[in-house]
Subunit: 248 residues, 2 copies
């Protein structure tokens, strides 16, 4: 029984005749940077749980497997997103790559720039904090060698000693990390793509916690801005002390 069962509809009509016609969406060649950029905006939309190689591929009109031409794997993609975020600071016109009106102004601008970035990418920022750094000197959230270089050489140019500059770097990073992570966390960090059910429960059995119950009003107030400004001022004071101390 060697019957020709290959009797399916062979669409030879379209194949070669209609050449020279562009596909509907002009085939952008899809490089690594557009993948990372798209991954970031997608992550901001759907949260970490929603970012999937397959879904990201679909977004770029491509099968998931095509992404592996440009990115070694999902982990590397996440790292690339973090780097993309941090390097994006150079594009912020309020942020200076080196001091112009003194180091205090330099650090003020940088701190506020990172804060704006964090608030613009609430769902992505936790990644900046939790991905393991590639080197011990790349402390989150300043996780790009470029910026560490900018930070340190900036302070050195302003008369800091090596030790003072490094100490300032340490203080600056843990200050930023603590404040910003807390801030984006309370902004409902990674609720993800799930339906957010409005919790209308007034006080879920807060009767055993009288102080929390009494102060829940004050505790819920959003003082993020003042907290940030005040703590930043105090940090700058401490860095000043540190600077003169290392010079004396």
């Amino acid at each position: 029984m060697v019957e020709d069962t290959d009797a399916g509809p062979t669409p030879d009509a379209d194949a070669e005749i209609v050449a020279g016609r562009k596909p509907p969406s002009a085939r952008v060649p899809l490089d690594r940077d557009t993948i990372v950029a798209e991954a970031l905006t997608f992550l901001d939309e759907v949260g970490p749980g929603g970012l999937t190689m397959r879904r990201l591929g679909a977004r770029l009109n491509v099968e998931a497997m095509s992404l592996y031409r440009y990115v070694p794997g999902k982990e590397d993609l996440l790292d690339a997103i973090v780097e993309h975020l941090i390097r994006g600071l150079y594009a912020d016109p309020e942020v200076l790559a080196e001091p112009r009106d003194g180091w205090q102004d330099f650090l003020q601008r940088l701190a506020h720039g990172v804060r704006r970035m964090a608030l613009r990418h609430v769902k992505a920022f936790p990644l900046v904090a939790s991905r393991p750094p590639e080197a011990p000197w790349l402390r989150p959230p300043l996780r790009s060698v470029d910026w560490v270089e900018s930070f340190l050489s900036g302070l050195l140019a302003e008369g800091f000693t090596d030790e003072a500059a490094v100490a300032a770097y340490r203080g600056f990073t843990s200050f930023l990390l603590g404040h910003l992570l807390l801030e984006v966390a309370t902004h409902g960090a990674d609720v993800g793509p799930l339906d957010v059910v409005e919790d209308t429960t007034p006080d879920p059995s807060l009767e055993d916690f009288p102080t929390v119950a009494r102060l829940s009003g004050e505790l819920s107030e959003d003082h993020a801005v003042e907290e940030f400004e005040i703590a930043l001022e105090q940090l700058l004071e401490r860095i000043t002390a540190l600077k003169v101390e290392h010079q004396g």
Copy 2:
């Protein structure tokens, strides 16, 4: 055709005859708390990427599906782990649930207790920081109502005003979060279950970053302990100022 097809090997022998014999491994009834505890130690071993409902089930000699009797889902399990961690602070003999030798001692002990906990659970601690809090007053890493109650009522008993206590709470949490997250991150936070390849590359093209290259020695030094102690001292000073200011 109503034949009795139930002719499989009916093991009626063991069923009732040998009653009063325990199965080889004493069948612990598997409650929620042992699941959470096991999940935590497992997480500490394999990292967040390695924690799987199926693998956790296998660890407890049970199919993954059995876990759903005690835990609504994986997300809830992660939240439960976080709570378990924080409430574990009460078991630390160095930590006091309320002030005994003044509020500074109280906060010192609490801060060091949280630090020990973070360092004992390097892989799990980032969860404490990144899970979205259930209420705006539950700021990481002090994410259990019990502890917020302990913290606030402790300070109030020491003469703090409501405002000063709340402000101290805010300062204390962001200080802890920033320092500890940074510390566990540099301890190679969530490398996960992957093989950690020793990176023997000396300086991966650090030639464009002269300052980082020159200071990489200082930058790599581990000053975690001093940083923590100094910053904690400064925090306590700020809280003191805050306390008297609200009283005057």
